[in-house]
C-alpha cells in the first residue's frame, strides 16, 4: 500500500480533475466513505493507483460515467423506514391539504423508490392530482431508471411489508404489473413528477415548495456542504414548509438548526420556523 499521504494527494487531484472536467463537485463530501468508494472503484477498473484512474477518466468520458456509479451510492428502497411515511401521512399530509396545490422536492432521489412511495401516499390521500413532485439527483443513470419505474421483483415482498407498515390503504399490487423485467409501476404515479439533474453542491433553488424530502444524501456531505443544502431547502420552502431527512440525519450540527423546528422528532421531520 502506498504511504497514506500519497493517497490523500492523489484523491485531491482526482476530485479536482472531476470538478474541472465534468463539473461534479465532490470537494466537500465526507472523506472517509469517499475514499472507500474510490478504492473499491480501483479494483473494478483494474487500476493500481488513483492517478491511473484519473488518467482513465480524463480521457474517457464513459469511464467517468461508470465511476460515477461507484461514487454516488445508488441504493434505495420503497417505503424505507415505514414510520417516516406513516408520520408524513398522519402529521404532514393534513396540513398539506390546506394548500390549493402542493409542490414536493425529493432531493437525491436516486433510482426513484422514494418518489414512487411518496406518489402512492399522496394518491391515497387524494393529493397527487394537485401536486407536482420534483425528483432530482446528480446521477443521470439513476434518473433514467427512476423515470422508467421498473423495480426488481425480488424486493417486492419487503416493499409490500413496508407499504403496509407505512399505513398503506390498498393492496400494494394495485400499483404495479409484474412483468419479465420486473414490477412496472403505474404510469399515473409519475404523471406529475419531473425528473431533473440537479446538484445540491453546485446548483441553486428552482422552485418554491411545501415539502422537501432529502434522505440519506446529507450523510455523504461534510458540515459545510450540509449547510449549503440546508440553505437551499430553507430558501425553497414556503413559510412553515416541511423538511424530512433520513433516519440518522439531523440539523444538530448545522447553522440552520434554529431556523427549523422539529415536527416529528423521532422521524426527523422538521418545519420551517
Amino acid at each position: 500500500m502506498a504511504p497514506d499521504r500519497d493517497i490523500e494527494i492523489e484523491l485531491r487531484l482526482l476530485i479536482e480533475a472531476i470538478y474541472l472536467k465534468y463539473n461534479y463537485d465532490f470537494r466537500d463530501y465526507s472523506g472517509a466513505s469517499f475514499k472507500r468508494r474510490v478504492r473499491h472503484a480501483l479494483q473494478q477498473f483494474n487500476c493500481n493507483t488513483i492517478t491511473a484512474l484519473q488518467e482513465r477518466i480524463m480521457h474517457e468520458p464513459s469511464a467517468f460515467m461508470q465511476l460515477l456509479q461507484y461514487l454516488t451510492i445508488p441504493v434505495s428502497e420503497m417505503f424505507r423506514d415505514p414510520s417516516y411515511y406513516l408520520a408524513l401521512r398522519q402529521q404532514v399530509v393534513p396540513l398539506l391539504k390546506t394548500y390549493p396545490s402542493v409542490k414536493v422536492w425529493v432531493a437525491g432521489c436516486s433510482t426513484g423508490e422514494e418518489v414512487y412511495s411518496l406518489a402512492i401516499l399522496l394518491k391515497e390521500e387524494g393529493l397527487l392530482e394537485r401536486s407536482i413532485i420534483y425528483a432530482t439527483d446528480i446521477n443521470p443513470r439513476s434518473l433514467e431508471k427512476a423515470e422508467r419505474g421498473i423495480f426488481s421483483l425480488e424486493n417486492i415482498r419487503t416493499y409490500t411489508e413496508n407499504y403496509q407498515k407505512a399505513g398503506g390503504q390498498r393492496a400494494f399490487s394495485d400499483y404495479y404489473t409484474a412483468a419479465y423485467e420486473g414490477a412496472l409501476f403505474d404510469k399515473s404515479l409519475r404523471e406529475n413528477v419531473t425528473f431533473a439533474d440537479h446538484s445540491l453542491a453546485t446548483d441553486s433553488v428552482f422552485s418554491e415548495t411545501q415539502l422537501v424530502s432529502c434522505r440519506n444524501v446529507l450523510i455523504y456531505f461534510n458540515k459545510a456542504l450540509q449547510d449549503r443544502a440546508f440553505g437551499l431547502f430553507h430558501e425553497s420552502l414556503c413559510h412553515r414548509g416541511f423538511l424530512g431527512l433520513g433516519s440518522k440525519e439531523s440539523l444538530d450540527f448545522s447553522s440552520y438548526a434554529k431556523r427549523f423546528e422539529p415536527l416529528v422528532k423521532s422521524e426527523r421531520i422538521f418545519r420551517k420556523a
Partner: protein, 204 residues
C-alpha cells in the same frame, strides 16, 4: 497471560493512543459487558464499537449498556466529534466511519460480509485517521468481518488485540483475523478487560 511483556509494550505505546475500536458479533453482548465492566466516566479514550445484531434489536443497544456501565454510552451520530470517556455504538443499518477531523460519518453503502454496520469499514477508516494512535480489538463472532480491518490497523502501525479463539463463544472471527497475521495481544476476556483498564492508568 504474560503481564511482563504486556506492561512493557503497553507502556511504550499506550500514552500515544487516541482511540479504541472494537468489533464483535455472535456472543458479543456478553463479551462486551465483561470487558467494559470496570470503565468509569474518567476513561480518557473514546471507544467505538460495532456489534452485529439483527436490525430490530440494535436500536436499544446504547440504553442497555448505559444501564450497566459507568462510562457514558451513546449511539454515534453523523458529524459528531469523538470524545474521551465515551463508548459509542454504531447505529443499525448504517456503516460507521471516522473522518480526518475525528468526527463520525455514516453511510448506507452495501453491506460487507452481510453486515451493515461492518467492522472492517469502521476499522479501516479509523486506521487511516489514527495510524499508530489506534488500538483495535476483535472479539467472538461467526463470520469474517473485522479480520481485514485488524490487518489494516496493524499495517498502519496500530496496536491489535484478538480474543483468544479458545475463549471465544464463537471462534470464527478471531480465527479469521489470526489467519491473516499475528496480533500484538491474543487474550481471553479477563485479559482484555485488564488491558483496557491498564491503558487508562498509563495515560494519567
Amino acid at each position: 497471560m504474560n503481564t511482563g511483556t504486556l506492561d512493557s509494550l503497553l507502556l511504550s505505546r499506550a500514552s500515544a493512543l487516541e482511540a479504541v475500536v472494537i468489533g464483535a458479533s455472535a456472543g458479543g453482548v456478553q463479551a462486551l459487558l465483561q470487558i467494559f465492566a470496570g470503565l468509569g466516566a474518567d476513561y480518557r479514550l473514546p471507544i467505538v464499537t460495532v456489534l452485529h445484531l439483527p436490525d430490530d434489536r440494535r436500536s436499544q443497544l446504547a440504553e442497555v449498556f448505559q444501564q450497566r456501565l459507568g462510562v457514558r454510552v451513546k449511539e454515534a451520530d453523523d458529524k459528531e466529534s469523538l470524545q474521551g470517556g465515551t463508548l459509542y455504538f454504531a447505529a443499525s443499518g448504517y456503516h460507521l466511519l471516522i473522518e480526518n477531523d475525528r468526527s463520525f460519518s455514516l453511510s448506507r453503502e452495501e453491506p460487507l460480509h452481510f453486515s451493515r454496520p461492518s467492522i472492517d469499514v469502521l476499522f479501516e477508516s479509523a486506521a487511516d485517521v489514527y495510524g499508530p494512535a489506534l488500538m483495535g480489538v476483535l472479539l467472538t463472532g461467526a463470520n469474517e468481518d473485522g479480520a481485514q480491518g485488524i490487518a489494516t490497523i496493524k499495517q498502519l502501525g496500530g496496536l491489535t488485540v484478538v480474543q483468544d479463539p479458545a475463549d471465544a463463544q464463537v471462534p470464527t472471527m478471531p480465527e479469521a483475523a489470526l489467519a491473516l497475521g499475528p496480533a500484538d495481544f491474543v487474550l481471553p476476556i479477563p485479559g482484555i478487560q485488564a488491558l483496557l483498564a491498564e491503558l487508562n492508568k498509563s495515560q494519567c
